[in-house]
């Protein structure tokens, strides 16, 4: 079994062309990044608002847990059915999937941003106000920098979710590593299916490592080191 998977993975013909492994990996990544960006555009401002003002916390917590209960495949088919007649070209294929992926990516970002701002030391917030910082200055100079560790982990788990779910976008005809799984199943080529699954896991791992490097670069060392240097 392992040998056949390896044979599939190392077969040069699987690495070439528009449907090859590199092309599908890039396509998978492209869809995932667009979905992450869309999710962040919605979730970050809301999370910042709720965390900074403390308004709407109960609503936010409930919405997040409701979102998490959404079955992704079901939503994908509904979105495809509803939107397909109204769209043309490439967009017709991509938009429903992207919407689903973005919607699934929202909860981790939302709760990461909100929780990050929420857990900022109340004394530091009080001092910031007492020193004469305006609301925006407090947000950007104190709250966001202090919340970055949790904001980053929210983005990372959102990205993991999106990469995993992007696999099923192949069901409605989209590219990405999901193709290998869907096509492999259709053709009963189990080595291709298993190879595709491994590639998805690898892609997720590599992306997470890249994100963690970015996190290390943007988060202040003062937030990480609680001990003496």
């Amino acid at each position: 079994m392992i040998a056949t998977i390896w044979a599939w993975l190392s077969d040069p013909t699987n690495w070439a062309g528009a449907g090859g492994i590199p092309a599908q990996s890039l396509e998978h990544l492209r869809l995932s990044l667009i979905a992450l960006l869309a999710a962040a555009l919605v979730a970050v401002p809301i999370g910042l608002y709720v965390g900074h003002t403390g308004r709407g916390r109960v609503v936010l917590v409930n919405v997040v847990s409701a979102f998490r209960a959404i079955p992704s495949l079901g939503v994908l088919f509904i979105a495809a059915l509803l939107l397909l007649p109204h769209l043309r070209g490439n967009l017709a294929f991509e938009l429903p999937s992207l919407i689903v992926l973005a919607v699934l990516g929202i909860p981790p970002i939302l709760s990461g941003v909100y929780a990050g701002i929420e857990q900022v030391d109340p004394a530091a917030r009080d001092a910031a106000r007492g020193m004469g910082m305006t609301g925006w200055q407090r947000l950007w100079q104190v709250e966001v920098p202090c919340a970055l560790p949790l904001i980053c982990s929210g983005l990372r788990s959102s990205m993991m979710q999106i990469i995993a779910t992007a696999t099923i976008a192949a069901v409605v005809g989209l590219g990405g590593l999901g193709r290998f799984l869907i096509d492999g199943q259709a053709n009963r080529k189990y080595d291709e299916m298993a190879g595709g699954a491994i590639l998805v896991a690898l892609l997720a791992l590599v992306v997470d490592i890249v994100f963690s490097l970015v996190q290390r670069a943007v988060v202040s060392p003062g937030l990480a080191s609680r001990g003496r240097t």
Binding site: G130, G132, G222, L223
Partner: protein
């Protein structure tokens, strides 16, 4: 000068946290607000920089109504120090201290130079600036908090229990530094504490608040100890107020010459029960018993260090303590650290008895305090 005029704060209708408070914090002095937990100290303080808006009354700083100044602008001109320092964990110590100058539009280089200067002033020189708050002790963090408040050289600083979260030894050091810095810079400080000893040590004037934010007494520490306005104040000030009041009394006490022995040299034929040892600069080091020293030179291991040392012009409390704590019964007094002689408890006590009690002329109870609050 900071003036609270009939200031009240009601969080819930009908139950004031601060009730019609009229109070003046004189320019260049430390005014302390003290009282039991929940009496409205923090509320009163935070109304000064509009962290809390008063329900009624007004607050003037140098004659200017604070309600007319935008809150953020007002706060940038007022230093603010809080209990747990509230340092920004993501910024280095240096950048923490640079915050207010930068908010005030200073250039980076100027703000940085100033930050280094104030850090030095609070005893955190050099590479402390590069550390993050998480790498400092509680006492050091509090020092950074003070430096941050001093950075833009404000004429007014508000402090809410600045030292209550640090251990007693670090607290003493911080208190001494605040006294020194305040005397140097002439800053007007309003400080909140629940610790009457801290209030008496730091305050030029002390306002005692009772439950509901009512001013019980506003007077100098000496008057507070000598003439508590009522049972509540007397109770709050505590039992040993008679002894503590001696901290503010100075009088001439007879100083007897003392023939010391030098560390590192033999006693010769001295045979008193206790001998005072000094170093080469005539600074007192401790007491020795000749029988324990024997023939050889006086060494550090021979020293008994029980006695406290008082400045020759010190308060009566320090002189009495020196005499009472000395194993020989002779209280060591120094002038600029150099042995000046010894005093006797008997004689300090008789000076205390003859000294006039602190008079009540400068005392203000709640009534007279509000009387001075009237406009001239």
């Amino acid at each position: 000068m900071i003036r609270l005029e009939g200031v009240s704060k009601e969080y819930a209708a009908g139950r004031p946290a601060v009730d019609n408070l009229t109070l003046e914090a004189a320019t260049g002095e430390i005014t302390v607000l003290v009282g039991p937990s929940g009496c409205g100290k923090t509320t009163s303080l935070r109304m000064i920089n509009r962290m809390i808006e008063p329900t009624s009354g007004r607050i003037l700083i140098d004659g200017r109504d604070t309600a007319r100044v935008p809150a953020a602008t007002l706060r940038r001109d007022i230093g603010y120090v809080i209990q747990h320092a509230g340092l920004f964990p993501h910024r280095t110590v240096l950048h923490n201290v640079m915050t207010v100058p930068r908010l005030n539009g200073w250039g980076r280089a100027r703000a940085e130079a100033r930050a280094r200067e104030v850090l030095e002033m609070v005893g955190l020189p050099g590479d402390f600036g590069r550390r993050y708050p998480g790498q400092l002790s509680g006492g050091q963090q509090q020092r950074v908090g003070v430096a941050r408040a001093l950075a833009s050289d404000p004429s007014v600083i508000l402090m809410d229990e600045p030292f209550s979260a640090v251990d007693p030894v670090a607290r003493e050091g911080l208190q001494d530094d605040i006294l020194r810095l305040q005397a140097e810079l002439g800053t007007t400080i309003v400080l909140v504490t629940h610790d009457i000893d801290e209030a008496i040590k730091l305050g030029h004037r002390v306002a005692v608040l009772r439950q509901g934010g009512v001013l019980a007494q506003f007077s100098s520490p000496a008057d507070l100890l000598a003439h508590p306005a009522d049972d509540f104040v007397a109770d709050f000030v505590g039992r040993d107020r008679g002894y503590r009041a001696l901290s503010f009394q100075h009088a001439d006490v007879p100083v007897h010459p003392e023939e010391p022995v030098r560390l590192g040299q033999p006693l010769g034929r001295r045979s008193e029960e206790w001998l005072l040892a000094v170093d080469d600069g005539s600074r007192p080091q401790g007491w020795v018993v000749p029988a324990e020293v024997g023939e050889g030179p006086v060494r550090v291991e021979h020293l008994h260090r029980a006695g406290t040392v008082a400045p020759v012009d010190g308060a009566l409390r320090a002189l009495l303590d020196a005499a009472l704590s000395s194993p020989s019964g002779r209280g060591v007094v120094v002038r600029d650290g150099v042995l000046a002689g010894t005093v006797r408890a008997q004689e300090v006590l008789s000076v205390i008895q003859q000294a006039p009690r602190p008079d009540g002329a400068s005392i203000q109870g709640p009534e007279s305090a509000s009387a001075t609050g009237q406009r001239p």
